[in-house]
Structure formats: C-alpha cells, structure tokens
C-alpha cells in the first residue's frame, strides 16, 4: 500500500464530472476499487473544474505509521544493500557536519555555516532515490544535500575552506554549493530563492520531453527542492506551487520543517502550521511524514518521485524533522526548550536506522562500525585535502563573472577588456 493512499481521507473525495470518456483521476485514490463519486457537497464549487482535495496524514490521524514495525519477525522493507547505503550516507552527513563545527572553531572556515545534524533522514531518504540526471536544489543548509547527491566530501570541504579546489572554486562558500556533474543547482542564501530555480529546472525537463522530443524510457528528469518551514510563508514558495501544478512539472517540494526559523518558532510565524495542507490548496497532494525516520521518508519519496517522473505533476512533502544544533554556528540557540531538544534527540535518525538494521539482521554491529570507520577516514582525508589546497590566486577574481567575458566590454584602446593579458592577472582596472 502506498504512502499516499495510506493517508486517511476524512470525507469522500469529490470528483468533478468531466467530459464523457475522460477518466477522472484522483491522486489519493490509488486502488482501482475506489471509484470516483460525484457528491453534491457544500465544499464543491460548481464553477471550479477541480475538486477540493483534503487529506490528513497518518501521523496526525495517529494511525500506526508504516515501516516502523520493529518486530524482528516482520520482513524488512529494504534490502541489506539499501540499508547499508542509507546508513553510510547518513553517517557521512553527520560526521561531515561535526567536522565542520570543529574546523569552524579552529578558524578554518568562516562566515555563516548552517549545519544539518539531525535532519539526515530527509536528505538521505530522498536523494538516494534519485539518479544523476535528476536535480537537487537546496538552501544555505546544503552541505549534506551536496554529499548525498554525490559531490565528493573533499570538494565540499575545500569549498568551505575557501580553496581553489572547492566545488565552486572557493567562490561560493558554505551557502552556495553547486555541482554541474551532479546536477546540484545550489545552495542559496536567501530563503525561497531556490524554489523558482528548481521550478525552472523542472520546466526544462518537461520542455525537453515535450518540445525537444527527447524522451527517456525511464521517465522525466525529476527536480527535488528542499527548503524549511520559514520559507513556506514566503511568496516564492506559493507562486511556485501554483506554477508547478499548473503545468504539471516534474518536481517534488520537500519541506524540512524543523519548527524553527533561527529564533522564530514555526507556530508563531504561521497561521496554519500544517504545511502539507498548502499542497491540496493548489491541487497537488500534500503529505506529512516523520522526518526523523529515514524509511518513512523514503517510502513517501518513492511515490512522490514516481509521480513526478511519470508526468503526473508535483507533490508537497512536509517532513517533520529537527536540527540538533543551532541555526548556524553563530547561533547561541537559547530559545529552544530542553525537553523539545531531548524529545528529538531520542529520535536520532542514525540511531533509529541502526536499531532497525540490527533488529532485522540486515548487518552486524561490526559492519556498521566498519562503515563509520570508513567515513572517518573519508572526512579526515577531506580535511587534509582542503588544508593542503591552495587558496584562489588573484587572477581568479574576475573569472566566471561572465560566461562570455566579452561582457566586460571594450576598453579605450579598442580591444575587449578580456583580451588584455593583465586582465587575467587581476592587475588591470576594470
């Protein structure tokens, strides 16, 4: 049973009568037995072609969530290889972020650094299902999204150290992780800014299929956009929900609701804190999932990504998650209560998956320890690499301002500025 249909619908889905022969579809009724019905419900507006769809999530309806069955007699929902892949990815994210904190306090990286500790289930749960051709768009809390997407740890670390070998040549920094070979489209400092870019990537995917007629047997390229609870009150989010649904773009909107936007509690900032509801308001499925459980996230992600790949359109997935550290390394984190922190610390996604793996006998303790050791080595090597890499030279300052450096214009001598040898050295006046 799919996660999307596991949600309990409190009243019958009202499906508008369409033209004869056209099969009405409801994203929530996946089983063929659920025949579309037409009700004259007060909720149905005769003028609207679309039926209002409302769902509650399994978490809210306090149904027993799927995939969390920890009894050893039940079959594991993932294979051993998958489990180890997920474990390794989450451990990589956690260890990397811990190292970032260390390096920051040792003065190796600067500025605003936002760590992802505690939220690994969301990144791993979604990104490990994607192919290289799929795109990921993130926010300033993007180190782990980059790692999950496949950007080497040394490239990310070097970028954080501001070295020329970083994935963005040291020009981006913590909040601007980009990788073209891995289709990581950023890394954005202003919240909400990346969502239109993600929508554009999804538009590109649809365009390639419909206009350029480049078809892939395995479906459209999917874009996954990650952002936080604070962003959900921002206009760009809502505008993009509208456009994505309007054009049925192959995108998944993933809300990492960690309940806090720096020091602003989600409940104090939002009139209706249930973010998943904003999906149906625009006509797309909205699902709430426990973001501390990587298997539950993965289950929902499988469906959301499949929807997008099949051209059925976008989905909004709200992951309830938590960041164990402050908003950034400069945040004293004084406003969050101790009991809230301990509540979520007890639901550490890595500990949870480890428990699951051991209970289902998917791997032994020593194998998991070996993975952790392997990650330790990777991180150490990444730090060494970053440390020993050179900082960008002066000549790099003006590179990459323009894809076509003719954009710097024509100088008084009649030559393009970029033809001046001193230009690349960085000694010419621009």
């Amino acid at each position: 049973m799919s996660a999307f249909s596991a949600v309990r619908i409190p009243f019958p889905a009202v499906v508008a009568a369409r033209s004869a022969g056209e099969k009405p579809s409801s994203p929530f009724l996946c089983s063929p037995a659920a025949a579309p019905v037409i009700h004259s419900s007060p909720l149905r507006s005769p003028r609207l072609g679309r039926p209002p769809l409302a769902v509650t999530s399994d978490v809210l309806s306090s149904q027993k969530p799927l995939g969390s069955n920890s009894s050893p007699s039940c079959q594991a929902v993932i294979s051993r290889d998958e489990a180890l892949e997920l474990y390794e990815d989450m451990v990589l994210g956690r260890f990397f972020e811990d190292m970032c904190a260390q390096m920051y306090y040792r003065g190796k990286m600067f500025g605003f650094v936002h760590l992802y500790n505690g939220q690994e289930a969301v990144s791993t749960g979604f990104i490990k299902l994607l192919e290289t051709r799929d795109s990921v768009v993130s926010t300033y809390r993007d180190h782990v999204h980059a790692l999950s997407k496949g950007v080497p740890a040394r490239a990310v670390m070097a970028e954080l150290f501001g070295k020329a070998t970083g994935c963005c040549r040291g020009q981006g920094g913590s909040m601007h992780m980009f990788s073209e070979p891995h289709n990581l489209l950023g890394g954005f400092a202003f919240i909400g800014e990346g969502i239109p870019v993600a929508t554009g990537a999804a538009f590109s995917s649809k365009y390639r299929y419909e206009v350029l007629k480049e078809s892939n047997r395995d479906g459209l390229d999917v874009t996954v956009a990650f952002f936080g609870d604070g962003t959900c009150n921002n206009g760009q989010f809502l505008e993009c929900l509208n456009m994505a649904q309007l054009w049925k773009l192959p995108i998944v909107f993933v809300v990492e609701n960690n309940l806090w936007a720096i020091g602003m509690s989600h409940l104090r900032a939002t009139s209706d804190p249930e973010i998943w509801k904003k999906g149906p308001a625009f006509g797309m499925p909205g699902v709430h999932v426990d973001g501390m459980d990587v298997l539950k996230v993965r289950e929902v992600a499988v469906e959301a990504i499949a929807r997008a790949r099949n051209g059925e359109g976008p989905s909004l997935v709200e992951c309830e998650t938590y960041r164990f550290r402050g908003h950034s390394l400069a945040d004293p984190d004084e406003l969050r209560k101790a009991d809230e922190k301990s509540h979520y610390a007890a639901r550490d996604p890595i500990v949870g998956l480890k428990k699951y793996i051991l209970e289902k006998n998917l791997a032994s303790e020593s194998e998991l320890k070996a993975i952790e050791k392997k990650i330790d080595d990777i991180i150490e090597e990444a730090v060494e690499f970053a440390d020993s890499s050179p900082p960008p030279p002066r000549s790099q300052l003006l590179e990459n301002v323009f894809a076509d450096p003719k954009g710097f214009g024509i100088g008084p001598d009649g030559k393009y500025r970029c033809e001046d040898p001193k230009f690349t050295e960085g000694t010419a006046q621009v």
């Binding site: 239109p196 509208n242 076509d404 954009g407």
Partner: protein
C-alpha cells in the same frame, strides 16, 4: 583604412591572446568604429559572411531612424532594398528567427502567448511554437524570472518578458541574486543565457509606476549586461545578439518607440552587444545618449546644425559595459561631452558614464561634462508636468551652446 587593418590584426591575434578553453570566445565580432554602422552577419557556425570583409564593403545601412529625416551625412542604403517594418515587428522578427534557429529558445511572460504580448512583440508566436515554448505565466514576476533562470541553468535559452520593465522590480531578487551571481558563485559551472526584456521609460501620461527607468537600478549588478535598443534596425540586431549571448542580458525597450518605422535588411544580421552606434559624426561636441532621448537629441541637432554647430551623436546602446573605444575616440576628437539620458539625475546611467569618461579621458576634455537627466521626481500624470520631467530638445540645444562657448 587603419581601422580595417586593426580589426584584421585583432582577429588574427585573438587566437593567441585568448585560451579558448577558458573564455570560449569563438570569434570576436568587432565592428569598425567611425562613420560606418556596426554591422556583422555572423553565421550559426561562427563564420562571418561577405559583409564582414571591410575592404570590399561599399555602402552602409541606415543607422538612424526614420523619425528624423535622413540628412546629408548618411550614405544611401546598400544594394539590397530590405523591408520596412515597425520596431515591435523588428523585435518579433529577431525573436522568431532565433526561435527557428535554436529550439532551446523559449519565451515566458505575462500575456506573451495567446494575447500576443501587451505590445504585440510576441504576436503569432504561440500558435506557431506552442503554449509551452511561448509560455503565458501567472502574475508572479519574481518566481517566473527565477524559473527562467533555472531553465537557463539547465540548458534552455529563455526570453523573459516584463510586461512593463517596472514590474521587474518584483523580480529584483532573482535578477540580482541569481541571474547576475550564479555563474560566479558556482565557480563557472552554470551559465545563464537568459534575456530579460520589456518596455520601460517615460510614456504618455502613464503615471509614475509605469514610467520607470530600471537601467539605473540594474547597472550595479555584477554579471549582467544591459543594452537599450532605439531603432528597428538595432532592436532586431540586439535581440538576436542577446539571445545568442552566453551571458544574461537585459534588453531595454521603450514604450514610445515601438511604432517607429524603418527599412531593415532582408539578410540576417546580428549586432554586437558591447558596441555603441555612431548616429551622426561631427566635430564640435560629443552627445552621448540612448533609447528615446536619441530622438530628442536628433531633433535638437536640426536646430543646432542650423545655428552652425556640428555635434557628433553617439547612441551608446550598451549601458553596461560602456563602449569606451567609440566614446573615447569621440571625446578625443571633440573635447566636449554632453550626456542626454532619461534616467533620473541621481545614480543614473549618465552618472556612471560621466565617471567613466573622467577616469579614462580626463586629459582630452576642454570643458566639464554636462549631463542632462530627468528630474528626480516620480513621473507625474499631468501632461505638462510630465513634459518637464524629461529632457526636451530645447534644453539640449541650450546645453550644447553652453558647452561650446
């Protein structure tokens, strides 16, 4: 002649100076400074056509618009008669040619599809190319501009239309943060070959919010190129150049210039984004202008010529970066500069241009640079007030007289 040789030398030397891997400059399309218009025919495969061979070119094409009578200083048209059209049609022709040439070029904006564009620039394109390629967006400038940027990053070449340039203020976040910056912050990994275009400038009693000059707000954004078209000829050429450019380009059109009529060549041509256009060669004073003010300047020039002055008029076209070569050559010849712009006095293109000329050509100036700009007021609705907001030909005449004393 020297200019032709210089250009030829430039081209042969270009292969040595530029590392193609790094800069990806296939062929530097440079025009010839001086009297002749800036024309190139750049083929899709990078070769230039016979037009380019400077030594064999006989005539040149009309570079000033029909709004002013062709005066004795311009030569007659070249061999092919060309075809006459209005500026908005020229924009459409350029856009359509590029869309035919490259299926990755697409259009997005409000009412560009079924409505054909609020100024009919995209009329007929949606029936021809489909609703996805000529996309009618909801009213969400910031988001659809961002969407255009995301599409550009992933391989498309979108042309985003602001129904009025002023509406793009809502997209300032995306234009500044993403459009201008992402190529740099990604370390050169993603290019953003987007064109953002739309009508701006002071119209006929459109009110303050529909009469904005965004070039002054955008000029500081690093990573952007700004161009302003003023005639059907350069409108089509700049549109094509902007679409072909790998850089993000903002193309400023003017609400009052859409119905200008001109005869343009039948054969394909692309103009250079970074160049200025010599409108009227002269000797006494250099008048630098762009967009609508070009016509106020040419009107003033008629009076000035009658009074015995010989102004040199340059339409700078490239608002960012400035073509310091054409401008510099002019300053070195006349030693007097007048800038006429429609931006407001504070922080406009004129202020930057003044600074650039002082930095580079101070020794050649015989008089302070005069800059005529619009008043620092929100454009009033009343016709009389609006007229006094922008620079009028009489003020230009007075300024030239003052400069040449």
């Amino acid at each position: 002649m020297a200019a032709a040789l210089q250009t030829a030398a430039l081209l042969s030397a270009s292969h040595n100076l530029i590392d193609p891997q790094r800069f990806r400059v296939g062929l530097l399309a440079r025009s010839l400074p001086g009297r002749r218009g800036s024309i190139f025919v750049v083929r899709a495969d990078g070769r230039t056509s016979g037009f380019f061979n400077a030594k064999s070119r006989s005539g040149n094409l009309i570079t000033n618009a029909v709004a002013t009578k062709a005066d004795a200083s311009t030569s007659s048209t070249a061999s092919k008669p060309g075809h006459e059209l209005l500026l908005f049609e020229a924009l459409r022709e350029g856009l359509e040619e590029e869309m035919d040439r490259d299926p990755h070029v697409c259009v997005m904006g409000e009412d560009v599809g079924h409505y054909g564009g609020s100024y009919k620039v995209t009329k007929g394109l949606a029936p021809k190319y489909g609703d996805l390629r000529v996309l009618d967006t909801p009213i969400a400038e910031n988001s659809f501009t961002g969407m255009g940027i995301g599409a550009a990053m992933t391989g498309l070449r979108p042309v985003v239309e602001g129904m009025n340039m002023g509406f793009l203020l809502l997209a300032f976040n995306q234009i500044s943060n993403n459009c201008g910056m992402l190529h740099y912050t990604s370390g050169g990994q993603f290019k953003i070959p987007i064109v953002i275009r739309g009508p701006g400038g002071v119209g006929r009693q459109l009110g303050a919010e529909h009469s904005q000059r965004l070039e002054s707000y955008f000029q500081s954004i690093p990573g952007l190129q700004l161009v302003a078209c003023s005639t059907p000829y350069n409108a089509k050429g700049l549109m094509k150049a902007a679409i072909r450019s790998e850089n993000p380009v903002v193309l400023f059109e003017h609400v009052l210039l859409y119905n200008l009529k001109e005869r343009i060549p039948d054969e394909e041509y692309v103009l250079c984004l970074e160049e200025a256009e010599m409108v009227r060669p002269g000797g006494h004073v250099t008048i630098l202008t762009y967009s609508r003010m070009r016509y106020h300047v040419m009107q003033a020039v008629k009076t000035l010529v009658n009074k015995g002055y010989d102004p040199e008029v340059i339409d700078i076209r490239s608002l960012k970066p400035f073509d310091l070569y054409t401008i510099g050559n002019s300053v070195k010849k006349t030693h007097r500069v007048l800038i006429v712009e429609e931006c407001m006095r504070t922080g406009g293109i004129g202020s930057s241009l003044r600074a650039a000329i002082i930095d580079n050509f101070w020794d050649y100036l015989d008089a302070p640079i005069l800059c005529l700009s619009s008043q620092d007021v929100p454009t009033p609705y009343a016709g009389t007030l609006e007229e006094w907001t922008v620079v009028q030909p009489a003020q230009i005449v007075a300024a030239v007289e003052q400069l040449c004393e």
